[in-house]
C-alpha cells in the first residue's frame, strides 16, 4: 500500500492523540505515569515517522520540496525538541507546549491540503531550510515561556523565577544561535555573504543581543541590579523576536529585504 497525502489525516490525528495523552501524563509529578507517558509519545513518533518514511518512498525523493512537506518536518522537530528538553531538564509542561505548536502545523496541513504540492521556490530548495526554521521556532517557544515567567516575576515582585529563566534562556540561546549561524552558512551558499544586514537579519541580531544582555546581567551577581530591568530584558527580547519573525515583514519597506521572496 502506497502512502500518499490522502493518508495524512489518519496518521496525523493518531500521532497527535498519542502525543497529547503522553504530554498530559507528563504533567503529573508522580513517577509511575512517566513510563506510560514516554511510551505514548514514542508511539506517536513511530506513527508519524512511518508516514514520513512512506511518503519518502512513494515520492522517491526526500519530502522537502513543498510547503506542505516542510510543515511535516516542523511538527516532527517541534515535538522531538520538546521531548528532549523534557527528558534532559524535567520541565513537565514542555511536551504539552511543544504539542500545541506541532498541532498548529499539522492542522494547517489538514485544513489546506491544496498547499501540499505547492513547490518551494529554488531559493528555498536547500537542506538548511528545515533546520534553520524549526530551530528558530523552538527557541521562540522557550523565550515565550521565559517572557511569561518574567511577567509573573514582575507582578509578584519576586526573584524566584530567575533560576528557571536562566535555564530557559541558556537553552533558548543555544537554539537561537544555531538558527542564526545555520542561516549565515546557508546565506553564504545562496546569496554570497554570511551576513548582509537585511531587515530580518538586523532584527535577529538585535534579538540575540537582547538575550545576551540578560545573560550578562545575570553574571554580575555581586552588584545590586534592579529586578525590573532583569525581567524587563526578557520582555524586550521577546518583543524583538516578534519583530524578527513577522514584524519586519509588516514594515512598509519590507519587500526590499533578502528574506522577502517576491
Amino acid at each position: 500500500m502506497m502512502i500518499t497525502w490522502n493518508l495524512f489525516q489518519p496518521f496525523a490525528l493518531a500521532s497527535l492523540a498519542c502525543w497529547l495523552c503522553g504530554a498530559l501524563l507528563a504533567l503529573r509529578p508522580a513517577g509511575g505515569s512517566r513510563r506510560i507517558s514516554l511510551g505514548l509519545m514514542g508511539l506517536g513518533f513511530l506513527l508519524y515517522a512511518t508516514f514520513v518514511a512512506g511518503l519518502w518512498m512513494a515520492l522517491q525523493r526526500p519530502p522537502l520540496r513543498t510547503m506542505g512537506e516542510t510543515r511535516l518536518w516542523y511538527s516532527l522537530f517541534m515535538m522531538l525538541s520538546g521531548l528532549l528538553v523534557y527528558l534532559r531538564w524535567r520541565y513537565r509542561w514542555m511536551p504539552l507546549f511543544a504539542w500545541v505548536v506541532a498541532a498548529v502545523f499539522i492542522i494547517i496541513n489538514l485544513v489546506r491540503p491544496e498547499l501540499h504540492d505547492q513547490s518551494l521556490m529554488p531559493a528555498l530548495q536547500s537542506g538548511w531550510f528545515v533546520p534553520h526554521v524549526t530551530v528558530y521556532i523552538f527557541s521562540y517557544s522557550l523565550f515565550g515561556c521565559a517572557a511569561l515567567l518574567a511577567v509573573a516575576g514582575l507582578v509578584r515582585r519576586t526573584s524566584s523565577y530567575l533560576a528557571s529563566t536562566d535555564r530557559l534562556v541558556t537553552i533558548g540561546m543555544a537554539f537561537l544561535t544555531f538558527g542564526m549561524l545555520s542561516g549565515c552558512i546557508w546565506a553564504k551558499q545562496a546569496w554570497g555573504d554570511y551576513w548582509s544586514w537585511d531587515p530580518k537579519e538586523t532584527w535577529a541580531a538585535a534579538t540575540w543581543c537582547a538575550y545576551l544582555v540578560y545573560i550578562h546581567r545575570r553574571l554580575r551577581k555581586g552588584e545590586s541590579l534592579s529586578l525590573g530591568l532583569t525581567y524587563g530584558w526578557l520582555l524586550i527580547g521577546f518583543l524583538l523576536l516578534q519583530m524578527c519573525w513577522y514584524g519586519a515583514d509588516l514594515l512598509p519597506w519590507a519587500s526590499a529585504g533578502m528574506h522577502s521572496y517576491n
Binding site: 513547490s119 530548495q125 535555564r167 543555544a174 544586514w197 531587515p199 519597506w253
Partner: protein, 313 residues
C-alpha cells in the same frame, strides 16, 4: 510599584533635542547627580560614540572602506592586537582595565548594539547603517572589549572550566574580526554571461567595470519545473569558465579560487516562456579572502554554545 521595581527613575529633560544630543544631555544629568558612582565608563562610551555620531552628521556618509584594503587592514589589526596584548601584560589589574573587560561593560555594549539593531531595523532600506561611523565605532569597541576579555582569560585557563567560554567568545571574536577587518577586501561583482562570446568584464556595486582573469560564456540554461504545479524548482546554468564547463544552480555556487565564488544571480526572462531560450544570465562573483576565518569563528561559536547547552544543569 513603578519606582520600586525599576529602581531610581526620574523623567529626563531635553526630549525635544536632536536625539543623540538629547540622550547625551540626559546622561550628563544623571552623571551630575552621582559623579563618583559607576557612571564613568558609561560616560566615556557615550563621549566616544557621540564623536562618531558627529562625524557621521558632518561627513554625511559612513566609512569609506577602500583605503583600508590589504595589507593595511591586516597591519592595523595586528598592531592593535599587539597594543592590547602589551596593555594586558602591563596593566591587567588596574581599575580601568578591569572595568573595560567587566561583564558590566559587556552589558553596556550589548545594550547599545541592541539599540543599534532596532534603529537599523527601522530605517528604510536605502540607508546603509552598517557602514555608518557610529556603528563601525561600536563594533570596534566590542572587538576591543572581547580582545581584553579573551587575553585576560587566556593568562591562566583550564580547558574544562574555560573551554566553552573561550569557544564562544573566541569564536565570536574571530568572526567579528574576520568580517570587520576583511570588509575592505570584499568584492561583489556582476558578470553578464551570454551565449555568443566570452565575457571577462564585471561591474561592481558603484557601476565601475573591473576585468577578471576568468572568461565566461553561457552554454546552456535550464529551468527545472515541478511536476505537480509547474512552478520552477531549480534554475541551472552551464557556464564555460576559461573554456571548461561548470554547473551553477541556486544554492550551489562554484568555487573559482581561494576566497572566490561564483553564483547564479539572474537570467534572461525569455527562458520562462514556452519554448523560450535564455540568451544570457547574470553571475555574481564574490571575493571574500577572509571568509574561511569567518566560518571558523562561526563554527567555534556554535561548538561553544553546544558545549554550554550540554552543561546546563
Amino acid at each position: 510599584m513603578f519606582v520600586r521595581v525599576f529602581g531610581q527613575k526620574q523623567t529626563p529633560k531635553g526630549g525635544k533635542c536632536f536625539p543623540p544630543f538629547g540622550v547625551f544631555t540626559t546622561f550628563l544629568y544623571f552623571y551630575a547627580q552621582n559623579p563618583y558612582r559607576y557612571y564613568h565608563m558609561t560616560l566615556w562610551l557615550f563621549i566616544y560614540l557621540f564623536f562618531f555620531v558627529a562625524l557621521q552628521v558632518v561627513t554625511g556618509s559612513g566609512m569609506d572602506l577602500r583605503w583600508m584594503a590589504f595589507p593595511l587592514n591586516g597591519m592595523v589589526a595586528v598592531g592593535l592586537l599587539a597594543l592590547l596584548f602589551v596593555a594586558t601584560r602591563e596593566w591587567d589589574r588596574s581599575r580601568w582595565m578591569r572595568s573595560l573587560r567587566s561583564p558590566r561593560m559587556a552589558c553596556r555594549l550589548l545594550v547599545l548594539l541592541t539599540l543599534a539593531g532596532v534603529v537599523g531595523g527601522l530605517l528604510p532600506s536605502g540607508v546603509s547603517f552598517s557602514t555608518s561611523w557610529p556603528f563601525v565605532a561600536l563594533l570596534a569597541a566590542l572587538i576591543v572589549h572581547l580582545t581584553l576579555v579573551l587575553l585576560h582569560r587566556l593568562r591562566r585557563f583550564s580547558l574544562k572550566r574555560d573551554g566553552a567560554f573561550l569557544l564562544v567568545h573566541g569564536g565570536l571574536w574571530l568572526a567579528l574580526v574576520a568580517g570587520f577587518v576583511g570588509a575592505p577586501d570584499k568584492a561583489r561583482l556582476r558578470i553578464l554571461a551570454s551565449r555568443d562570446g566570452e565575457q571577462s568584464a564585471a561591474m561592481d556595486e558603484q557601476g565601475r567595470m573591473v576585468s577578471l582573469p576568468y572568461a565566461m560564456q553561457l552554454l546552456q540554461f535550464h529551468i527545472e519545473c515541478s511536476e505537480a504545479d509547474g512552478s520552477p524548482v531549480q534554475y541551472r546554468a552551464s557556464v564555460a569558465i576559461n573554456g571548461s564547463p561548470v554547473e551553477l544552480s541556486v544554492n550551489h555556487p562554484h568555487t573559482l579560487g581561494f576566497g572566490e565564488d561564483l553564483y547564479l544571480m539572474n537570467f534572461d526572462p525569455r527562458a520562462s516562456e514556452a519554448g523560450g531560450e535564455a540568451a544570457w544570465c547574470v553571475l555574481l562573483y564574490e571575493r571574500q579572502p577572509w571568509q574561511h576565518l569567518l566560518l571558523a569563528g562561526l563554527l567555534m561559536l556554535l561548538a561553544g554554545v553546544g558545549w554550554m547547552l550540554v552543561r546546563v544543569k
